[in-house]
Symmetry: C2
Subunit: 150 residues, 2 copies
């Protein structure tokens, strides 16, 4: 299976709700181009184990997370601190912060304080708990991992 | 808490087994400098939910993973394809591959075929199941998340 480049015409709805696989392999070049020194920061639901979201953290985001107890990222698109859900109240309360063997990524184990950690919503209008709601099928298209996510 | 830069003298043993937190926030700059177009690729144990490892995948790694059914990364340090555990037999058998909302990261849900997914070993000499075996304490040092990891 060969995957093409992401069409410039792909809408947000197609990208987020569609069945067409169009991975953006230039992501980390874009991240690096934001100029901030960041590492990957994963948020995982401490109770269910669901991987909720992957973002990026610089030193400020990391220190802010430890201080305020909410999963915090550095928005590499807006180039600003992003305490996820702080404004809405749907923040991710930190249970523990783990580091990997080589100390070049972090794992926030969290309890979601409110609605889903993903900015998308299912057809019922409910925020999805996490961002990984679709899987790759054998034919290279995407499908929702269950009806609740659809 | 202010964190210093990683001391040049920090050994692998200190980095991987020690209690000193020294995150490498330059990681994604290094990844970008490898020249490959990559996105973050997380491997999670499909049964236990444990986040095992975070690596990077380019299009070749992603396609290889789908074809061979083993979690595959692009080694950004060696700049080569890395089918994790293929040689040793301790590969990560893919159960499903999920993509996030914005299609700029992937999640391998896997069943470890052999020993731990981390290259480090605990004091008993057993490979650790995953890389996130230490958490950050309130005083900014690290501790093992349980005795088994120590």
């Amino acid at each position: 299976m060969k995957l093409g480049l992401r069409p410039a015409t792909m809408t947000h709805a197609e990208l987020e709700e569609g069945k067409t696989l169009q991975l953006d392999f230039t992501k980390l070049q874009k991240v690096a181009n934001c100029g901030a020194d960041v590492l990957p920061a994963i948020a995982q639901d401490a109770q269910t184990g669901e991987v909720l979201i992957v973002g990026y953290a610089n030193q400020l985001a990391f220190e802010t997370a430890l201080e305020c107890g909410m999963a915090t990222f550095w928005s590499t698109s807006r180039n600003e601190l992003w305490i996820k859900g702080k404004t809405s109240g749907d923040y991710l309360k930190i249970q523990e912060v783990c580091v990997n063997c080589e100390q070049n990524s972090i794992l926030y184990k969290v309890t979601p304080a409110g609605k889903g950690a993903c900015h998308t919503k299912n057809q019922a209008g409910v925020a999805r708990s996490g961002c990984y709601y679709r899987r790759v099928r054998d034919d290279g298209t995407l499908e929702f991992i269950n009806d609740e996510q659809r």
